[in-house]
């Protein structure tokens, strides 16, 4: 039933997308982007899942498995878990930059409504 995870990730992504597209408050737009990022974490970790597999750890493996089993694929995918760690760090960095820009925009325009930020409008 790992499809449920994929669908949950899709729903999470689209909730974030709707927030980014439809909301006018800049803070909520940043929250929408964070939601979209979170959906990718869920998708990556779900993609790493293998039926009846163990964690990709070579110590203390379950008694019915051998090291050969682990190497030959009876583990969840460590590379996708690595991608997830990478994605989390980049997500934090990007959100921090967005929030700083939002604070500066709020101070400059005295508003967090995206509709008020139109000085660059040609």
């Amino acid at each position: 039933m790992i499809v449920a995870n994929y669908l949950a990730a899709a729903v999470l992504f689209c909730l974030g997308l709707a927030c980014v597209l439809g909301r006018r408050n800049l803070v909520k737009i940043v929250m929408g982007l964070s939601l979209m990022e979170s959906s990718t974490y869920l998708l990556l970790v779900s993609l790493a899942y293998r039926n009846k597999a163990t964690a990709p750890v070579l110590a203390d493996r379950p008694s019915h498995t051998s090291e050969r089993d682990l190497v030959h694929g009876n583990v969840s995918d460590p590379v996708l878990q690595n991608f997830c760690i990478t994605a989390v760090v980049i997500g934090v960095a990007v959100t921090a930059v967005f929030l700083t820009v939002v604070v500066r925009v709020a101070q400059h325009y005295r508003s967090t409504d995206a509709d008020d930020i139109r000085e660059l409008r040609g």
Partner: protein, 311 residues
């Protein structure tokens, strides 16, 4: 700053709903085409499983991928984090005096006067400016003890007057969390090593700040301490990789003898990379968060003409 106008919280919600719904439909169709936990392990993952013990002496394959097989990717990501921290510090930095360069507000005012001389501030802006003036007037010298600060002032409070229960709790939790964070990276049992450990360590600074106020953390949490530390972490990452290139054949190759597995030195240079990453992530996150917290109330100045604020 004004809140969203109640009738305009959503901008064309039907369009957002249609686009998000269409995306959801595409993603849902794609979800059924993804492997259902039955696909074979990809080649790179099998490679990582194979080399984790013989080449690095680590039993944690995810850490092997992060710092070994895909170490170059992590190297790049570290500097992306550093770039983001620099961007946040730059954007959050206090306004410098404009004695030399062009004063933007006064230069813009001339142009504004030429294009639209009759423009006046609307009600919202006047309200914001009035609030700002009120804030300026009510500014008092800060109390010696943060707990004596009156609550509910318009400016941000220096410290929330936390109860003794919260403060004792934070004092007890902080050393435990610090040890736990260092343990995560040091023994290498954690997928990712330095990344989750660094985040946990940054959490200690935030916990102490939230419970005890700025005074409790300001000896450590200051740019003159954190910024050199962060660059030291980044330099250590470069050094670990470069020594591998000099002593071995490639950037990031292991150049330390392998200790028995599940010991503190088991991963060779992987552990050094992880420790440097711990410093980098912990200081980077702390700098970014405290730069955001420390952003002053710097509103666009009025430059003397009170009429635009009063109309």
């Amino acid at each position: 700053m004004t809140g969203p106008r109640p009738d305009q919280r959503w901008h064309r919600p039907w369009l957002a709903a249609v686009l998000a719904g269409a995306t959801l439909a595409v993603l849902a169709v794609a979800a059924f085409g993804l492997p259902h936990g039955t696909g074979p392990l990809p080649q790179i993952a099998r490679h990582a499983m194979r080399v984790a013990l013989p080449r690095w002496g680590t039993t944690e394959v995810v850490s092997e991928v992060v710092y070994g097989s895909r170490g170059w990717d992590t190297f790049g990501e570290t500097f992306l984090l550093l770039a983001a921290v620099v961007a946040v510090s730059l954007l959050a930095r206090g306004r410098e005096s404009r004695s030399e360069y062009v004063g933007e507000a006064s230069a813009g005012r001339t142009e504004q006067h030429e294009t639209d001389p009759d423009e006046r501030a609307d009600g919202e802006e006047s309200e914001a400016r009035a609030a700002e003036h009120g804030e300026e007037d009510s500014e008092q010298p800060p109390a010696e003890d943060a707990d004596d600060d009156p609550l509910g002032e318009p400016a941000p409070e220096r410290a929330i007057g936390m109860t003794v229960l919260v403060r004792v709790g934070a004092r007890v939790a902080a050393p435990i969390q610090t040890v736990a964070a260092v343990y995560l990276a040091a023994w290498g049992y954690t997928p990712g090593g330095g990344f989750p450990a660094g985040a946990a360590l940054a959490g200690v600074a935030i916990l102490l700040y939230a419970a005890l106020g700025h005074r409790a953390v300001r000896t450590v949490v200051r740019p003159s301490v954190l910024e050199p530390l962060e660059l030291l972490g980044a330099a250590a990452i470069i050094a670990v990789g470069a020594v591998g290139m000099i002593r071995g054949s490639s950037f990031g190759q292991n150049w330390l003898p392998l200790a028995p597995q599940q010991t503190i030195r088991a991963g060779g240079t992987l552990q050094l990379f992880s420790a440097a990453e711990l410093i980098e992530v912990a200081t980077g996150l702390t700098i970014a968060i405290f730069a955001l917290l420390g952003m002053r109330h710097e509103w666009t100045p009025d430059e003397g003409s009170d009429d635009e604020g009063q109309s």
